[in-house]
């Protein structure tokens, strides 16, 4: 199972674990055991330098910080366009970028509530995405 609609980076243990959890319905971030910093999407190390990292399950609710519809996509995304992307602040204040589905532009306002759901893309790909609550 690969991450996202398209990808060009090789898989590593971090992304394999993340995708596995996502496939089981869990959105997982990482937390630094040394300084407490939380990362979603996850990182193998903290920006403080520590490699003492623990996985945690992220909250699934948040508010839209901003959004935009992509009409002219990268070539690799042609078959999916147009689509909406958004940045959302989750309940624990981490922020996440993903596609926002089931909406039209004129429905959207900054501050709207969304939830994060798992999205399968074809047979072998998976992503997270936002849906209005």
């Amino acid at each position: 199972m690969k991450f996202g609609y398209v990808s060009c980076l090789p898989e590593t243990p971090l992304i394999t674990r993340f995708v596995e959890e996502l496939n089981n319905g869990r959105l997982m971030g990482t937390k630094c055991e040394k300084c407490g910093a939380k990362y979603l999407p996850p990182r193998a190390h903290c920006k403080c330098g520590s490699a003492d990292i623990k996985w945690y399950e992220a909250p699934r609710r948040g508010k839209i910080l901003t959004y935009t519809p992509v009409v002219v996509p990268p070539e690799s995304m042609s078959k999916y366009a147009p689509y909406m992307v958004a940045v959302v602040k989750l309940e624990d204040k981490t922020r996440l970028l993903a596609q926002l589905t089931g909406v039209t532009l004129n429905m959207l306002r900054v501050g709207m509530l969304v939830q994060v759901i798992t999205r399968r893309v074809g047979a072998d790909r998976i992503a997270y995405e936002f849906k209005l609550v």
Binding site: F3, G4, Y5, V6, S7, C8, L9, I15, P41, L65, T66, Y67, T68, P69, V70, V71, V72, P73, P74, E75, S76, M77, S78, Y80, A81, Y83, V85, A86, V87, R95, L96, L97, A98, Q99, L105, V110, A127
Partner: protein, 385 residues
């Protein structure tokens, strides 16, 4: 070693869809003009810094020597600079450092990029991969989409309007129409700007810079050599550089570029000036919202008042701080590697008093502001006569 570093020669290739030339030939056009302007021979140069942003656009892995060799630099040292859309300014800072560090007296800086040959979708894809390819690109983000998201946040927070965005485009097209090197030399009306086709709401076609081919070159030299070469050397008196998170979702605010604020503070401090003393500026208007944020982040107006600043024509010649008198990335074009070097050329022309119809009368202090990616790079330079 307390010598200043100055600009002793400038040369600009025509920006546009240049099917007549590849990277090396475009670069040659700019270099020839810079050497003519400086009235020196390539033999008088000690080293080069070549700014090419992207190997895929160049269709060449490790593209710098292609240019260095083609323009006749031979066995002299060559360095490549790369900082995405701010590649040209990174090259200027690298060359400044080489001179200041004493490794070279006279350095040729060349910025060049060929982008149009890939077509829009492919070019969009390449630039999209300058966003985090693990966590952003897999969702189909594009560079217009990043700036559109910042625009929506700015409109929401400060009441900035689509009309104000379009006003930036109108201004830059007006000045671009006076710049013989610009990709599009055509003034547009506010109505035309507002009604152009939507790219990424709220950004429409006229809010977005062009995909262009182009090159620009400058000769940097230490104080002694700059004075010897040029009757009107322009001094690089302040340099600032800063960075920011790779992912847009990690930014605490989406209505400013923190890298701009940090870089400009350093540059002002080093030059010993404040924003009020800037007579003319070129700023990174890859999208109209970027120019509005730049007004604010560079201190030309208060945070959130950027829309008002253009509405009141404060960034026109005659206003508080004339901005992008060369047409900006918007109408001049944005061949990534060339852009920062082209900015340095416009400020040099303004401070020399050679900007013709676009001249800011009596300009003594200039500023250039060049952003890479979405603020992962920012370089600010202060220039004086």
């Amino acid at each position: 070693m307390t010598q200043k570093v100055g600009i002793a020669g400038i040369g600009h290739a025509k920006f546009g869809k240049r099917t007549d030339a590849t990277l090396r030939e475009l670069a040659h056009e700019a270099v020839t003009r810079a050497l003519e302007d400086a009235k020196i021979n390539v033999k008088d140069i000690d080293a080069s810094v070549i700014g090419v942003a992207c190997e895929e656009f160049a269709a060449q892995v490790s593209p710098a020597v292609l240019v260095h060799d083609y323009v006749g630099m031979g066995n002299k040292p060559v360095f490549r600079a790369e900082a995405a859309c701010a590649t040209g300014s990174a090259a200027i800072q690298a060359a400044w450092s080489l001179v200041k560090a004493g490794l070279a007296d006279v350095v040729l800086v060349v910025g060049a990029e060929t982008m149009t040959h890939l077509g829009t979708l492919k070019a969009t894809d390449v630039i999209a991969r300058a966003g985090d390819t693990r966590w952003e690109y897999p969702f189909g983000t594009t560079f217009p989409s990043f700036y559109a998201m910042m625009a929506n946040a700015h409109m929401h927070q400060y009441g900035t309007t689509r009309e104000q965005l379009s006003m930036v485009s109108v201004k830059n097209h007006m000045y671009g129409a006076m710049n013989p090197y610009a990709h599009i030399q055509k003034a547009i009306t506010l109505e035309e700007a507002m009604k152009s086709s939507m790219i990424c709401y709220p950004l429409n076609l006229y809010d977005c810079c062009l995909i262009s081919d182009g090159a620009a070159a400058v000769v940097l030299a230490n104080e002694e050599k700059a004075k010897k070469i040029s009757d009107t050397p322009i001094w690089l008196t302040g340099l600032g550089a800063a960075s920011d998170t790779m992912m847009i979702s990690e930014r605490e605010t989406l209505t400013e570029l923190r890298a701009t604020k940090i870089a400009v503070e350093k540059a002002y401090g080093m030059a010993g000036i404040t924003s009020r003393e800037v007579d003319v500026a070129v700023v990174h208007d890859c999208f109209t919202i970027a120019e509005i944020m730049a007004y604010e982040d560079l201190g030309f107006c208060k945070k959130g008042k950027g829309g008002k600043f253009i509405e009141e024509k404060q960034s026109y010649i005659g206003g508080k701080t004339p901005v992008n008198t060369d047409g900006g990335l918007k109408s001049k074009g944005h061949p990534l590697g060339a852009t920062g070097v082209s900015m340095t050329i416009e400020i040099t022309k303004q401070l020399r008093g050679e900007a013709g119809k676009r001249q800011v009368n009596g300009a003594e202090i200039g500023l250039s502001h060049n952003v890479g990616q979405i603020g992962q790079y920012c370089f600010v330079h202060i220039y004086s006569r």
